[in-house]
């Protein structure tokens, strides 16, 4: 079997295996959201609403049918790519969440990429200067960044760069494909916040594995060959020490792609996380169900992508179809 065919088979198998996981996730969401006290019709109509009007809206939303039947119907159409329509706004769920996902993805992908770059640079530098002042400083900075709540940091950055210095806009969002420059300006602060918050743990991970790898003889051997320190760290230590950091970055990515609710709230970004939180609060069942199923799928795909990256880093790892 060629490596490509083997990879394809592996991907197919993994996707197939994730079907029960996704079904189970869908069931979880469904049960959880239906356990919530409160009624979308009631929330929409507010405190003064007439009970008859609430009941009518309830029927209109299709919520008067037995829950298992609703689940089966929903799942059936979900399998056909139809996630239903929002009970609150009447929008189709799939386009809605794809549109929201774009926002979240552009922030999260760039933030995790930047955090990983920071982590690689910081981790390698710290490992290289192990036990010296620079190492201590990097570890301290990483630890502190892990200890700062993201909403707090976001707010500080917003006040400093948005309100006081007026360098960057503070609210709103422009899709990158509409206007690249303005879009980027809106992304800077949320991406920076998220990158700083996530870089701490990644840096520590990178440093730890770089320290482990540094002890191995091939690193000494590279030095004995006359390789420069930069070459030693970048060519020999980095590729062998990167896997755990990559795993962690992947996990972070998987979780954040499902919505960085806090960051999205602070910076008023129309992202997936805010959509889910708002939908939970509004009891907008189809949106919550759709979003969380989508999130679970993203998580599975990100994990798969990460697993496919390992063989690139470590030739000893092969995918088994």
């Amino acid at each position: 079997m060629s490596p490509a065919a083997r990879t394809a088979r592996y991907v197919a198998k993994r996707l197939l295996l994730s079907v029960p996981t996704l079904l189970l996730a869908a069931l979880f969401v469904f049960v959880l959201i239906r356990l919530l006290p409160g009624d979308p019709a009631q929330v929409m109509l507010g405190e003064g609403a007439d009970p008859d009007a609430v009941a009518a809206l309830h029927r209109q939303m299709g919520l008067d049918r037995p829950a298992p039947m609703q689940f089966v119907t929903w799942l059936g159409s979900a399998l056909h790519g139809d996630l239903g329509t929002s009970v609150a706004t009447g929008q189709p769920v799939l386009p809605l969440l794809l549109q929201r996902f774009q926002v979240t993805a552009s922030i999260v992908l760039s933030a995790v990429a930047i955090a990983t770059l920071l982590a690689v640079a910081g981790g390698l530098l710290a490992a290289w200067r192990h036990g010296r002042v620079l190492d201590r400083a990097i570890v301290a900075a990483a630890t502190i960044s892990m200890a700062v709540p993201s909403f707090w940091l976001g707010l500080m950055l917003l006040l400093a760069f948005g309100v006081k210095l007026r360098w960057l806009p503070v609210v709103g969002y422009v899709p990158l494909h509409e206007n690249l420059g303005a879009g980027l300006a809106y992304l800077v602060l949320p991406v920076a916040t998220l990158a700083i918050v996530e870089s701490g743990v990644l840096t520590r991970m990178m440093r730890a594995s770089a320290l482990d790898v540094q002890r191995l003889e091939f690193v000494t051997h590279a030095r004995a060959k006359g390789a420069s320190e930069l070459a030693v760290m970048v060519r020999h230590v980095l590729p062998n020490a990167f896997a755990p950091t990559l795993t962690l970055a992947g996990l972070t990515l998987g979780h954040l792609l499902g919505g960085a609710a806090v960051i999205e709230t602070v910076f008023t970004l129309p992202g997936l996380g805010r959509l889910v939180v708002e939908s939970i609060l509004a009891r907008d069942y189809p949106v919550v169900q759709g979003c969380l199923l989508f999130t679970a799928l993203i998580y599975v795909l990100v994990n798969l992508a990460i697993d496919l990256c390992y063989p690139l880093l470590d030739p000893r790892v092969t995918v088994v179809g």
């Binding site: 009631q42 007439d50 009970p51 209109q60 706004t89 609210v171 690249l180 008023t268 708002e278």
Partner: protein, 528 residues
Amino acid sequence: MPRRRGPRRRAGGLRAWAALAAALTLAAPPAAVAGETVLRARLNADIVSTDPGVRRDENTDAVLLHVVEGLVAYREDLSVGPLLAARWDVSRDGRVYSFRLRAGVRFHNGAPLTSAEAVWSLRRYLDPKTHWRCLHEFDGGGYAKILAVAAPDPMTVRITLDKPSPGFLSTLARVDCGETAILHPSSVGPDGTWRAPIGTGPFRLARWTRNQAIELVRFDGYQTLPGPRDGNTGGKRALVDKVRFLVIPDGVAAEAALLRGDLDVLDGVLPIETGELKRHADVRLDVHPSLDIYALLFQTRDPLLRDPRLRQAIALTLDIPGLARAVTQGAAQPNRSVVPVASAFHDAVQARIPAANLVQARRLAAAAGYRGQPIRLIANHRYPAMFDAAVLVQAMARQAGIRIDIDTLDWAAQLARYNAGQYQAMTFGYSARLDPSLSYDALLGDKQADPRKVWDDPVARSLLTASRETGDAAARTAVFDRMHALFLQDVPAVVLFNSARIAAFRANVVGYRGWPAAQQRLWGVGFR
């Protein structure tokens, strides 16, 4: 595999570069025409539709009332005045209303306003398939049933009711009914589905980017009434070329946007956020008392709280002015009465607020046999005022040895508990009701039939009926004063305050003002 990957990757790269180049050249910033004035205002959540009075919430009402207009509308003092109707006649039996339409009014598509559009609009609202918010007011469930809508001539609309109704016009004018706006039939598609509002308002809807912004453009063919702005009627002049409503859910972020100049008007500022704004010279605040009611509700059927003495004891622990000041940073009016402070019926009887008396509170609690049992008080984080009030109630009751534990639910859950009557106590907010009868109606009723009702007192209920049957102000004042006395005695709830609607705007904005109906109005608002 690696050998095959090379060229393909290069192709992908080229595509990406091409796309990037295209993005850079095509995506110019949104055209900012020189000299164009844009007023930017904030919504704390996206509107739910563009269909007035149908799929709606407060934000939707506020935005759409810039675009559409009804026959009649509220004036500043909440009385009803003409808008699209120039005048109206009521038949002697009070059942037939004839509205004479204003001449020269045009829809956004250029079509002139005639009785045909008005009849079409009203009949559409009365069709149950439309799901009009206020349908049940007119289908026999509410004050009066509309029997017929007719157009005797091109400029007259005639509505026939089954019985006389003093509240008919003010119901038509209601903001949450979408002012019963008159729309052009092209607002809906051939199959009757909603497309977009073609109204007669001073602005027309230009663009709705979901969850981000709604853009309104000045309607050049608008014909304003003479005189100054008066509620939702009077002179309605668009002083700017565009109004852009930005959806900014987070208060602090919105405030930052205002301070930075990304926003011109920030309506719905939370009282706790005003401290910061007051310190900025280029920001002005507009504080206007609201007709809503914040109250501490008790479940009078609860085994512990069924004893009025315990309820009285709790009420006596409360320093209501202090609480109102702390919760709203001094913006709200403390009020122990169901009749809002801004109401004309709020007189000296209602204005007297009993002072806190911890000694007596302890005595009453002991008399009621209270021995430190915890009382669960439901509150939510969605509305900070309800939450903060709960915190203060807890702290104040504690001073008299009454133990209150706060249960924080999300708003939907609290609402469900409210509707089912499943609580011991909760802090709750009633939205603005424009008449004290309506305010009392929200609380008072048969608990058996409607578990939402907080207060189930036969005398008070008959008084409520009496307050509706008369239009005489003095007689109604007397009724409300008696109800207030009963309310203070029975304490099914402790009204705490009527909140204030606070708006902040940049110093160069002129003409912005709040009003009792609270919905933000951006006509008559411009730049210095």
